[in-house]
């Protein structure tokens, strides 16, 4: 939230802003798209020139999103983390070099509680005790291992420093989490250029997709990540 707010404050345009629940994409692509579509449809063509999406493709959460009355603008990225890194190319290079990394940033840590509520609604948040209570000791433990094993294959936590940090409390939180889980810790320098260009109206087609009313966003399954497709 801080990241986008900073970019909005510097934009030459007048921007109405709405922040949605952070864990939306944990609900699955179709649910995220429905939630976004409802908000997007609230935009008023008499008042708004465009709806700017501060999202990446995010598990296909943008796939199928329709521009009905107002154009949509979305950054070309698979993962919102690319927006904090300044380019999808930099994200791809980091991702390819580090399979099994969790990312943290000030905005992420500050708004962490919200995501827990949503994952609970999605049924993916449970403790070992919950599972044992429901399925018995043996089966409960088995399920817990199955559901959490992939996390044990994650080996690193990377904190993205954006320059907006008031102090080092969130970096310290991230370091503590890495230590607790016996993960490696890395800190990289963030780059908020994509946010600034998004809200500044600098939509270079190489980095942003603009969809006019009558079109929808779809995954392109190539380096462009997303493309426009006519409705109908």
């Amino acid at each position: 939230m801080r990241e986008l707010a900073e970019a909005i404050a510097r934009s030459p345009h007048t921007i109405d802003v709405e922040f949605l629940s952070k864990g939306l994409h944990d609900l699955g692509g179709a649910h995220m798209r429905e939630a976004l579509q409802a908000r997007v449809d609230d935009a008023d063509p008499a008042r708004h020139d465009a709806v700017l999406l501060g999202y990446a493709l995010c598990g296909n959460g943008l796939h199928g999103l329709e521009a009905r009355r107002v154009p949509l603008v979305a950054p070309r990225a698979h993962d919102c983390i690319a927006l904090l890194m300044g380019s999808r190319q930099r994200y791809a290079a980091y991702f390819n070099a580090h399979a099994g990394v969790y990312f943290r940033s000030t905005g992420w840590l500050e708004r962490g509680r919200d995501i827990e509520q949503l994952t609970r609604a999605a049924g993916t948040d449970f403790t070992l005790a919950d599972l044992i209570a429901k399925y018995g000791d043996d089966n409960g433990r088995y399920l817990y291992d199955e559901f959490t094993r992939y996390q044990t294959q994650y080996q690193q936590l990377t904190f993205i420093e954006t320059g907006l940090e008031v102090d080092d409390r969130f970096e310290q939180q991230a370091r503590a989490e890495a230590t607790e889980k016996h993960w490696a810790f890395d800190k990289i320098c963030g780059d908020l250029t994509l946010f600034r260009r998004l809200v500044g109206g600098e939509w270079d087609p190489a980095d942003f997709l603009v969809v006019a009313p009558g079109g929808r966003i779809v995954a392109s399954y190539d380096d462009d990540i997303i493309k426009a497709e006519p409705l109908g």
Binding site: G59, N60, H78, D79, L143, R149, Y150, Q153
Partner: protein, 215 residues
Amino acid sequence: MADLQKLHDAILNGDAKASAALAQEALGHNVPPIELVQHAMVPAMDEVGRRFECQDYFVPELLLSARAMKAALELLRPLLAASGAQPAGTVVIGTVQGDLHDIGKNLVAALLEGGGFEVIDLGADVAPEKFVETVRGTRANIVCLSALLTVTMLSMRTTIEGLKAAGLRDRVKVLVGGAPVTRQFAEEIGADGYGENASVAVSLARTLTTAATIG
């Protein structure tokens, strides 16, 4: 037949200990292993799949039934092999390169095993070359690729291209699945099948292998 019904129910209810004990007991009574598979275990897993489709069962129930089925299958496998029983097909399965998420893949692997397939599970973060090498070195006729991220699912295309380049594409049917994967994507990369959820995988694999045998 009473024992077969009990084994069927133990699998349906996800009771791995009972499932293993009942299979052991049936073997003690000289029930042929293939009969246990065909008349108790496969029907039980088919019922599990049906309940999942109707949303009576969810992922935890699927995992527990698969576990119970595997507990019985472990006992039968050496006997089935010795009797010369042929699997429904041989599947090479894995989560594609760069992706560590394995819950869905494990579920599909377990359901395929329960459906009578021989399953070679390569784990997660599997490079295209590894899939190619395994297909080449085995009698595999099905390859299942899983991904949870839009960024990694593109590796499915690379894997299919790798199979083509190695001259192995015609030998196998390729099935793809995972949260971000769509039917359109599956068609675009030239996969033979797409499963929207884990329970579809077994019927899809059966259809494709039967078609392959006839073809």
